[in-house]
Symmetry: C2
């Protein structure tokens, strides 16, 4: 660092990308946005800053400690730590002006002062979808949320060569009904659910089982819980309980909550493609989920954990309005997943940050260069940059190479005299002298492929 | 507001739009972004939060008072109040990894705790372009910045029917040379420039002149200053001084700064289209500009003042690096211009927030509805939303109307049996029963127009 200068380093835990990486990140963000839009979700944006009393209506403990909170004048303010709470506030505030079922997406930055570590950022993008309505909402919207997430992740994994993925789907009502069936008290239930939630984080399945057993105590209930974790969805049959446990689970026919959970899960699975599987170890820690819950895992990148999760909630707006707003939503952890992949060079894309560089050879060629730039901007979608450098030809070509341009257009005094341009394909090296009309045709043909 | 509920109102001075208005705003933002990209600028993003010492390296006075500043742990932090200072920090920090001339755009939110009033927000979007290089930068890049701003504003005014606009261009060197020619001391020069800067805010030109005269004092210098304000650019002739003043300005041939300023201004004007005019009353208050400066005005909306401004600077990075980075830039005040226009209904757009609504008539039609949704998402760019409501046909059509869908696809039991859909054009009312293949053709043809 230079002497007497201010240290310019970005704050620890904050992401800043070089232009090429930013281009990849923005391409990924557009892909998500475009898929969300096509699936029927409309954009909203909410302020980054909210009143603290709004954000902390529900949050507590760990989250509250991480929040960027400050006063400005007489206002107690905070930066949003997720997009869900601001959305609940938005729906409550604009209730009268929204059309329900209201399907919205929001892609934006959120802030958490977590301990900085790879893939954990203090400022990061979330990409959320939610569907909300008053009083009740068809289970088909749970299908829609998960199906939109599957479309989005399919597109991303295919565009960026990230391999296969699985969506694990469950329903909280099944566990809620199960634990109340056996009169398990709340604190014990919470502990058991927390262990189930961490199932795949235990070193071995035996470690997990031992931990679960130590909390549930009762051998019979423990065995049933383990059996529940094995249920799966079979097309044409539905939710299937392991055969040797059929009689043990006879009580379900009188357990409304479990019955309802199983029916809902069955409906959801009936409409989802085969990369969705039932897995009752998905419970989602956050207490606002009340029905369907899901998490998503990349087969080749287990280290990321769940890259998208969400579910059904019934009481999100209770702090702000008397209306009963129920909803279902999902979220993709855009920065957490893609920033490390981009930084590690795991993602490459075919598109170029710059399509064409125009290189006028000297001042006599500037007029023509700006005319060509204007014409290409008006008649093509090409990204075009003109460089006015009065440097040797070799230096100019080096520039075109450095910014990865696909084409260079060389304009020298001969070209000005003949009203033509020299078009060089930077990948093949092929060069041709053509009219500006031909130039537009060539670029439109090559770049819109 | 409901009893015992938290007040959900958005903070004063913060913008939050309903979905339809958000769609218009996002369309405008995309238009700007797309024009910037095509003109050769690449995207960067910087954190919203910076160290206060970085942001306040240059700022002072009013700006510093408005900033959202707070501590988190041991860090003294602030929300960015513009995109220029973070860009200077970015260039200094990543100097070794950037290719120069470096052309970047950045569209992002900035924060200022100003007194809230219409068109002045505390969180607002700026849309900036800058070109920077080390040591020197051709005057042609000043042309490129203004030309890109003209392309962008042309596209916006044409797409959204905002009428004509003018870009007023000047060069600070002309005034700097002028005042030093007559040995005007710095404090008097600053006052005079401040009055010139506000020329169009005076009630009458006479008020302006009286104020200017009271500061300059000397009758002869005052008269020359007024003459300078009349110079214009004439194609094929160049910068033209009013005829009756030719001998008074004979000193210019020995005034290097004025000569350079005039030559630069002439070069810039030579390459710009006719809606750019010379106007020496444009000086830009900010002290970092050193050469070309410009401001932009909508003919039909003088109340907005300048909607885009910028210019040439030479010392922006001096606080962060020993390298001499010079640059030229421009900025469009996205929120300040468009949020009031949208809220006042002055902007309407042709595009729809939703293209197609699929309306299955009952549960037996859900499977086909989801299949049609998936097929349209895979094979068209249409924005498609399926509604699972089990409501009367009339209610469903009301929904399609409320969200302004262009088409409704009705799927009843007959359609399921025949494997067809009923496609209703919501604008013409025309309805046809067609196969899903025909459906895709119709939508691709109609929506991609």
């Amino acid at each position: 660092m230079a002497k007497n200068k201010i240290n310019t380093s970005v704050l620890s835990g904050f992401v800043e990308l070089l232009p090429q990486s930013q281009f990849v990140f923005d391409t990924i963000k557009s892909t998500i946005e475009n898929t969300y839009k096509k699936a029927g979700f409309v954009a909203i944006d909410t302020p980054t800053i909210e009143k603290s009393e709004v954000l902390f209506a529900k949050a507590g403990g760990e989250t509250e400690k991480q929040v960027y909170r400050f006063t400005k004048g007489e206002n107690d303010l905070s930066l949003r730590f997720d997009l869900t709470v601001p959305f609940a506030r938005y729906v409550s505030e604009h209730y009268a002006d929204l059309v329900f079922p209201f399907k919205r997406y929001q892609i934006g930055k959120v802030y958490r002062g977590e301990r900085a570590q790879k893939g954990r950022y203090r400022e990061f993008f979330q990409a959320d979808i939610d569907i909300v309505a008053e009083n009740n909402l068809s289970i088909m919207y749970d299908v829609e949320i998960i199906s939109t997430i599957i479309k989005t992740i399919s597109k991303l994994t295919s565009d960026f060569n990230l391999g296969n993925f699985k969506v694990r789907v469950s329903n909280r009502k099944i566990w809620d009904g199960f634990f109340s069936q056996f009169g398990i008290e709340d604190s014990k239930k919470v502990s058991a659910v927390a262990i189930i939630d961490k199932r795949y984080k235990f070193k071995t399945e035996d470690d997990f089982k031992a931990e679960l057993k130590s909390v549930i105590n009762d051998e019979k209930i423990y065995n049933l819980a383990i059996a529940l974790l094995k249920i799966e969805y079979l097309p044409n049959i539905g939710i299937s309980i392991p055969e040797n446990h059929h009689s043990d689970f006879a009580f379900i026919k009188d357990n409304e909550l479990m019955k309802q959970g199983i029916t809902e899960l069955e409906t959801v699975m009936k409409f989802l493609p085969h990369n969705a599987v039932v897995d009752l170890s998905i419970v989602r820690g956050l207490d606002y989920y009340t029905g369907t819950v899901y998490e998503t895992f990349l087969t080749n990148y287990p280290e990321f954990g769940s890259i998208s999760s969400g579910g059904r909630y019934e009481h999100l707006c209770d702090f702000y309005t008397d209306k009963v707003i129920c909803g279902v939503g999902g979220s993709i952890g855009l920065s957490r997943l893609f920033v490390p992949l981009i930084e590690d060079g795991k993602i490459t894309i075919d598109k170029s940050i710059m399509d064409v560089v125009i290189l006028p050879q000297n001042e006599n060629c500037y007029k023509m260069a700006t005319e060509i730039q204007d014409e290409l901007n008006a008649k093509t979608n090409a990204k075009v940059s003109t460089i006015f450098e009065n440097k040797k030809f070799k230096k100019l070509m080096e520039y075109a190479n450095k910014i990865n341009a696909k084409f260079a257009i060389i304009i020298g005094e001969d070209e000005v005299a003949n009203n033509t341009v020299s078009l060089k394909n930077m990948i093949t090296g092929e060069q041709q002298n053509i009219s500006s009309t031909t130039l537009i045709d060539v670029l439109n043909k090559t770049l819109n492929k």
